[in-house]
Structure formats: structure tokens, C-alpha cells
Symmetry: C2
Subunit: 408 residues, 2 copies
């Protein structure tokens, strides 16, 4: 019988969000009349802005006619989209990224899970704890870890705990690592890295010849001009960092699927022979062989997100979600809950009230308030005692959820 | 410095189709006025049928409004699409496939490249030769092969040559293999497997406890009712076969990206411990952790491909491409070229004229007739001496290409 990839058997339970869905569905089936408010999975709820939808509809119509039909998308993405990205996401912030360094994809989740494939199995991986589960699980599946202990921490990974005690700032490892996953604004804690913190990581990565995989999927939520939106705003990052971006949380593309990855030409890895190899070349090979591009209408929509009207509409939606977060912070603080994040991010990170561990608090909120959040322990052992609430919902739902929680 | 995945360095040159694009682009730059006719990459050219485009536009419009907005797609795909697939692609042909056995994806290329990840590195892989390069390259990248020899054949793979001498029928291996890639109608040879041939493969896979990865991306082109469209039409396939399907070559989705994979619940693999493990469970974990679903408008479009109007329009487009193929067969035979395929597939597989190897014939056709095809050697060592022409083009281009080739 064909041998399976045994590394899959090391994975604890289901992927976090399907596991939450299963618990919520079970609750809803047993409580048909309950009006459940979902602040768990970080999924947006507002309609996609008109200029973006119009661009997608126009491009879809083009597909109906032989004269304007578009077949296989270009490997790395349409030039019109990569040019808009280079101009607005980078040049406008003083960063020079070539359009051949941009790889358009079906989302940052896929990219951040796929990227590890270009590295050797023996690379040492450093992760913050708590962490977005995909960074961890994709490395477990690839065989870069041993078994998990009872807290869900895998042998062989270097965990960097981020708790209130260290202000949610990952500490630079004392030893060597090869690959470092960083995310700012952070999922799940909602906190941000300062320019100085990024500079320290870049210095460490240079010293250790390590590669930083920087996830900037939530950069649109930064409201303080001193916080970098891209790691490339910090000197030296081009030599050590790959960056993931997404259209999900700004343009509302969770159900449309588009993101991109930047792999600067300076980045190198080492072959077993000792030879230095361009990581750009490896990722280009991975992308062209294992992926087949993003739908033309979707790329037209993503490009329209950079139009003046598109940018304006996105700013309004982000302001709306951040106002949700501000309301949530105020209401929850008023009932004595300790809260982090939610200022430059759509996520609030709460300390679970005494007597509740994080899955316990999940069940308690679901059963008593019919509100769904995400248990901190689902993001790693150091997430125990914390709980994530998402600000992605309609205002009346946010108000209602806060009222129900306040009543408990 | 972080170690790279050294297996990538075993890959020969670029992925085939980008390599062809590069050669064609170089020719076009040097010959600006040349009217190049592309019969190389198997990309469709006809507009997507109206009922499908209308469904996509309507669904895109839904995304503009808070009340009808759709966020993250369900892991395995929308139920309305999986129900349509189960009914029309399977039940209508007497095959019972559960909707929870269907995994909707962004295309058969991605699925057929990703699927190997759930298997162990020590699995022995059997491939036809010539073969769709993704099956091979994804296994090279995963470390299941040694180095390539000068013909581009990788050590450790079991190649099953398909040439005119054996009527392009892969011979059942004499020894043990764990994973077998089969494709019918075949890319690149354009030939089909009979029901009896499939039954022999199923018997072999049962005996060896091997898994068949069956690519049916071109099933829409089958014109002979005795040829199965799905391997599950043949007794016993549920216990040994995974099947890939695509909306690219029937609904014209090469630039939209949608396909699906069927993993029956009966399929098993073996863990190192000796325990039997459901492959369905492993693929579900891979799909939910490493992928994030297909855009809602795309799934609405795919579902509309199964409506009466959608099916009618698709039949007309397929008939058009098959008529192209018939014209090409006739014209090329008239000038003495030996041709296979093109009856139940959009591909013709030619013997290259004497004095030309397959890349030589590629350059000759490009330079002398300004016609782009695909060199057989690009699909494997046994493809040397052959050449693929695609029937995916407009009628006037097909006629013009045939005229130019006839004149040579």
C-alpha cells in the first residue's frame, strides 16, 4: 500500500478555523433559534467597493467575446496589476520593487504555506507564539518538526512567545535559525512591529544569513505613520526578506482570492554543494510549475483597488472596521476585560477572564452570549489565556455582541 | 545561509510552456511583422458561453452589497457546485460520487501537482512517457527522483513509453509501483484509454495496493460512447483511483481557473506504523490548510456550465475545436505527415518529418511557417520524434497555419 506522508499524522486536530466552524455548526443545529454573532474567523462582511466590482464585471464581460477573451494568465500576474502594486504599495512609500519581483497569487494564505517548499527540510524555523496556524502547519507537513507536545508545540521549531509580559514583541533568538516568520500588524494579537524592531530582525537575519518571511496582509489597518507598512521600508530588508500581501482585508477579497509575494533579486540560499542560489529563481520555478495564475477579472479588480476611487472606498471600509474595534475596546474595558491590539489591526486580543482557559471561554461565549471568537490556544501554547475577537462585522452586530457580553 | 530544496536543481531548464513562450517572444522581437499562429500551449480562444458569463457577472454584482456579499468560500467548494458536479459529471453516467468526495480547486494543474504531497517520499512513481510535465516536475521537486539523464529522464521514476509502436498504450509495469499517473484523453498524444485498458490498470493497482491519479481534464472531447469519461465508470476504481477534472477546456476557464478532484472514501494509504489511513482525510487536511477556496463568482460560473444552456453552448464549442482537429488531420495527412490523436481530444500528435528532431521541428515551423507547436521531447524522452499541435484556435488561423505548413 502506498506510504502516506507521515508528517500529517503529527498535526493536532483539524486546521483551527474548520474546527471552529464545526463547533459552531453543532451549536446552531442544537439551538436553531439562536442568533449567533460571528467574530471568530477573520472574514470581512462589507460589500466590495463599486469601482472594484465594476472593473471585475467589465473584465468578465470581456471574457465572453472571442476578440477580448483572455486565456491562461501570465505566470507572475498581469503587468497592469504588478505595475499598480509597485507604484502604490511601494514607490509611494519610497521603496523600489521591480515588477519582476512581484508574484501575483490566489492569496497570502497559499503563498505563506507554499513558500517553505523552496527550502531544505533541515532548515530551522522560528515562529512567534501565538502564530497564524498556516506558517506552523505547513512546516509540520513538510517534515521540519518532530511530534507535538500536549500544549501543541512541535519539537524542532523555535518558538518566540509573545505575551503581555513582553508587550507581544518576539525576542530575537539566542541561537541560529534559518527561516523566521513575522507578521505585522499581527494576526492574532493585533499588535504592530516598530521600525526599530524590524531593523533588529534584519540585522539578526543578516548575521545568521537567515530569511525573514514577512506577512503584511493587514498593513492597510496601520494608522500611525511611524509604523512601516512594508519591511522593505527598513534598510537592508531586500537582502533578507520575502513579503506576503493580500487584497482580502482591504479590498474585501476573502471570497475573491488575490494576493502577492515579493521576492527581491538579492535574496540567496545555499545548495548542498555550497553554491549560492537565487531564491527568486526557485520561487519563479515553483510558481510556474505548481500554480496557474489568477483569473483575469480578479486581477482587473485588484488593479482597480489602486484607482483613486478604489483607494478612497477602501479607506472608508477600513475606517469603519477600525471604529468597530474602538467600540469593542471601550465596551470590553468598561466591564474590566484587559485588551490588546485593535488600533492598527482588525483584531482584539483579550485576556480571558479568570476561571476560563481559552477554549473554555470560547464555549462559554458561544453558549451564553451566542458570540463566536477564536481561542488563543488555537494559535499556539502561549496563546492560552487569551482570546481573539475580530472587528469584521456590521455595526449593529458589534453593538449587540458587546451588549450580550456585558450582560454576562 | 538557509539551505534550499536541492531537488529544484535537478529540474531541466524551465517548465516547458514558459520555455516555449521565451523562444516565441524572442522570435517575435526579431521579426516584428511576422504573423505568428499559436498552436503550442493548449490554451482555448473562444469566448466563454453567455450563460456562464452571465452567472459570473450576477455573482460579482452580489459581492458589491453587504446583504449578498460572500466571504471565505467553503473549504471544499460551494454545495451548489458540488451537487451539480455529482449529478451531471457522475450520476448521469451511472457513477455515485458523494459531494463530500469532491474538492473544488483553482484547476487540475494545481491539484495534479499538489496531490503527491500526501504521500511519502519513498513512494515509487510511474509515469507515461511522454507526459504532462507537472506530474513529473512536482515529484522531482518533492525529492522522489534522482538526477536526470541527458534525455531528461529522472532516475527513480518508472517510465512507461507510449509510442506508435505500442499504439500509445502504457504497458502495465512488471514490478511494484505505488503511484500511477494516467491521463485520458491524453495530453499530449491526444489518444484515449479504452474501458478494458482502465480495467487492467485497476486490477494492477488493486494487486499492488497502488493509487492511480487519473487526469480526465479533456473528457469533454470524447465522441465515442464506449470510452469512459471517468475512471469511476469502471468497476473497482473507487478503491484505487483519485480523479482530476477541469473547467478549462470545456467551459473555456483557462483564464478563470476552476477544477476539482475526487477522492473516494474507500481509498487508503499506509502510515509508517503500519496503520491504514484514509487518503480523503489527508487531502481534506491539505486542502483546508494550504488552499483557501475558489472565488464565489467563479463557482457560480462553473455551476452554470451544467445548466441546459451552458451544456449546449459547451457542446458547440467542443464540436468547433474537434472540427478544427479534423481539418488539421486531413490537411497534414494530405502532405504525408503521420498523425495520431485529435479524434477524442483537442491535440494532434505528429511524427516529425525525417531530418528533424522535435525541438528542431519546433524551430523550423516557427522560423519558416511562423507556426508554434510543442516539441514532443518537452513531454519526455519517448516524445522525441513527435510534435504536438493544438486545435485550440480560430478557424481562419487553423486554415492559414495548415496552408503555410503545406507550402513548406
Amino acid at each position: 500500500m502506498a506510504h502516506i506522508n507521515d508528517n500529517y499524522l503529527k498535526l493536532k486536530a483539524g486546521y483551527l478555523f474548520p474546527e471552529i466552524s464545526r463547533r459552531v455548526n453543532a451549536f446552531v443545529e442544537a439551538n436553531v433559534s439562536a442568533d449567533v454573532i460571528r467574530l471568530g474567523i477573520g472574514d470581512v462582511v462589507k460589500g466590495i467597493p463599486r469601482p472594484i466590482v465594476d472593473a471585475m464585471i467589465e473584465a468578465t464581460e470581456e471574457m465572453a467575446h472571442d476578440e477580448s477573451f483572455q486565456g491562461y494568465p501570465p505566470d507572475q500576474g498581469q503587468e497592469f496589476l504588478r505595475e499598480a502594486i509597485a507604484e502604490h504599495d511601494f514607490a509611494a512609500r519610497g521603496v523600489n520593487i521591480g515588477i519582476d519581483e512581484i508574484f501575483v497569487s490566489d492569496g497570502a494564505k497559499c503563498d505563506s504555506g507554499n513558500l517553505q517548499e523552496i527550502f531544505a527540510e533541515d532548515c530551522v524555523v522560528a515562529l512567534t507564539d501565538p502564530v497564524y496556524p498556516v506558517y506552523c502547519d505547513s512546516n509540520v507537513m513538510a517534515g521540519r518538526t518532530g511530534e507535538a507536545d500536549e500544549d501543541g508545540s512541535y519539537a524542532g521549531l523555535v518558538y518566540m512567545p509573545c505575551t503581555a509580559a513582553n508587550n507581544f514583541t518576539p525576542k530575537i533568538p539566542t541561537g541560529h535559525v534559518d527561516i523566521i516568520y513575522l507578521c505585522s500588524p499581527n494576526n492574532p494579537t493585533g499588535t504592530v512591529m516598530t521600525r526599530e524592531a524590524m531593523a533588529e530582525w534584519i540585522a539578526y537575519a543578516k548575521k545568521e544569513q537567515a530569511v525573514i518571511l514577512f506577512d503584511a496582509a493587514y498593513e492597510g489597518y496601520i494608522t500611525d505613520e511611524s509604523i512601516p507598512h512594508s519591511i522593505y521600508e527598513v534598510e537592508g530588508a531586500r537582502e533578507v526578506a520575502i513579503e506576503f500581501r493580500s487584497f482580502s482585508k482591504n479590498a474585501g477579497f476573502t471570497g475573491i482570492r488575490c494576493g502577492y509575494t515579493v521576492v527581491p533579486k538579492e535574496l540567496k540560499g545555499r545548495a548542498a554543494s555550497g553554491e549560492e542560489v537565487d531564491l527568486h529563481r526557485l520561487w519563479a520555478r515553483r510558481h510556474s510549475t505548481r500554480f496557474n495564475g489568477v483569473a483575469y477579472p480578479v486581477q482587473r479588480g485588484a488593479a482597480a483597488a489602486f484607482s483613486p476611487a478604489g483607494r478612497q472606498a477602501i479607506q472608508e471600509i477600513i475606517a469603519f472596521y477600525l471604529e468597530n474595534a474602538a467600540i469593542m475596546r471601550e465596551k470590553l474595558r468598561a466591564i474590566g476585560i484587559t485588551i490588546y491590539g485593535g488600533e492598527h489591526a482588525p483584531y482584539l486580543w483579550l485576556e480571558t477572564p479568570e476561571g476560563h482557559d481559552s477554549w473554555g471561554f470560547f464555549d462559554y461565549l458561544l453558549n451564553e452570549a451566542h458570540v463566536v471568537g477564536t481561542p488563543g490556544a488555537g494559535f499556539g501554547a502561549a496563546g492560552e489565556g487569551y482570546f481573539r475577537l475580530s472587528a469584521f462585522n456590521h455595526r449593529d452586530k458589534i453593538n449587540e455582541a458587546m451588549e450580550r457580553i456585558s450582560r454576562l
